[in-house]
């Protein structure tokens, strides 16, 4: 295996571990179910990385083919889950479609492999990768307004960077497939497409991690905003009742000096609380 391939894959695995840790942290912090899909995606992507690394060690042809198949299937499934997880930030996740796609992504290459159509099996996995990228790339661009309403402008720009790097990687992958390169798995020869592939793979993974961090920030910001809004509203209503009740008592009753002073004190505190609510709303 070429040294660039080894370092490229090792770096990819490390980045995917970072992605996995971040997704786990988000799940614990925000309790959003979308992070479960992301966790599964990053985990399978790590397995895909190790299967690629193992290809450089084994010499048996059958084992090589099996690991190539595992690499293809796990990579396409992982990308499907990660992309679906990120997609679910601004659109309800179609769980049935996710399950059906996962079954197709596993079964089609597997059956092709079992019936001896090795190249079809590997190419199917690559084809699925391109389809996922095309699908997730086009929808948010087409529904730009919906996308931008749900997430911040920073996240949107990072999304565009992710798309740019992933599409560039898709082009380099196509060159690999049509020109018969081996991703540096079997050969020690240096090739520019191999270098470009690993370079773009790592860049796109970094962009994906930064994008997911921005999305997490958007979620926590929205949660804080909702809480601030809810508490300031509810507090406003409570103070309104106290305010109105003291006002009414002042009107209705002939109060002695001490009671009148106590009421004044309550009203003064209500005014302070009202000011406090206004400050909370500014957060």
């Amino acid at each position: 295996m070429h040294v660039i391939a080894i370092f490229g894959i090792l770096l990819l695995i490390s980045l995917r571990v970072v992605g996995l840790i971040i997704a786990i942290e988000f799940l614990y912090d925000l309790k959003e179910s979308k992070f479960k899909i992301l966790i599964m995606g990053w985990f399978i992507w790590i397995i895909a990385g190790f299967s690629a690394l193992y290809l450089g060690i084994i010499e048996n042809q059958l084992l090589t083919d099996i690991f190539l198949l595992i690499n293809g299937i796990t990579t396409s499934i992982a990308l499907l889950l990660v992309m679906m997880g990120l997609f679910s930030y601004f659109r309800e996740l179609p769980k049935k479609i996710l399950i059906i796609l996962s079954i197709i992504f596993v079964s089609v290459p597997l059956f092709a492999f079992l019936f001896g159509f090795y190249s079809i099996a590997f190419n199917f996995s690559s084809l699925f990768l391109f389809l996922i990228l095309a699908f997730y790339g086009i929808i948010p661009l087409k529904e730009r307004k919906v996308f931008k309403n749900k997430i911040s402008i920073k996240s949107y720009y990072w999304y565009l960077i992710v798309l740019l790097t992933f599409y560039s990687m898709t082009i380099s992958l196509m060159i690999f497939i049509f020109q018969g390169y081996s991703f540096g798995f079997y050969s020690d020869e240096f090739s520019i497409p191999m270098f470009v592939n690993y370079f773009l793979g790592n860049i796109s993974t970094i962009a994906l991690i930064i994008y997911s961090i921005h999305l997490e920030y958007d979620i926590s910001k929205n949660q804080k905003f909702k809480l601030t809004d809810k508490y300031s509203h509810d507090l406003g209503n409570i103070i309104q009742v106290i305010y109105s009740a003291t006002d009414l008592t002042n009107i209705n009753d002939d109060l002695n000096k001490e009671k009148a002073e106590n009421l004044k004190l309550i009203q003064k505190k209500c005014e302070e609380a009202a000011k406090l609510i206004k400050d909370i709303k500014k957060i």
Binding site: D229, S232, H233, D234, L235, G236, N237, I239, Q240, V241, Y243, S244, A245, D247, L248, I251, N252, Q267, C270, A273, A274, I277, K281
Partner: protein
């Protein structure tokens, strides 16, 4: 003195406003506890009240939606939205709602506003 329709999901607020406005000599013609109930009652009025005093954040239907539906039915009705949601102020005023009163406020402020609105009519 004005005839007033009170709408708020908080029964304490309705009760206190009712007492206060009655002391001032106004007549509370109806009370509703959510937007949907408010729209339904408004459609059933034989004589339209002079003023609607309405909260925004309510269950089933919020004040903003209820105000849109009421104004579609009768464009002349005077609505005052009393809410702690200051963020909706511009939206409600653009709809044709007469005033926005941010909660919490002193009852004196409410009486002054009602007097101003009544004098306007």
């Amino acid at each position: 003195m004005a005839t007033i329709f009170l709408i708020d999901d908080d029964s304490s607020i309705i009760k206190l406003f009712d007492k206060f406005l009655t002391i001032l000599g106004h007549e509370i013609v109806a009370k509703a506890y959510n937007g949907e109930e408010a729209v339904k009652i408004f459609h059933e009025f034989r004589k339209i009240p002079d003023l609607i005093l309405m909260d925004h954040r309510m269950p089933i239907k919020d004040g903003l939606t209820a105000a849109i539906e009421i104004l579609e039915f009768n464009n002349d009705i005077k609505i005052i939205i009393c809410s702690a949601d200051y963020s909706i102020k511009d939206r409600v005023l653009a709809l044709g709602v007469l005033h926005f009163l941010e909660k919490p406020f002193k009852l004196e402020k409410l009486s002054q506003l009602i007097e101003k609105v009544s004098m306007g009519s």
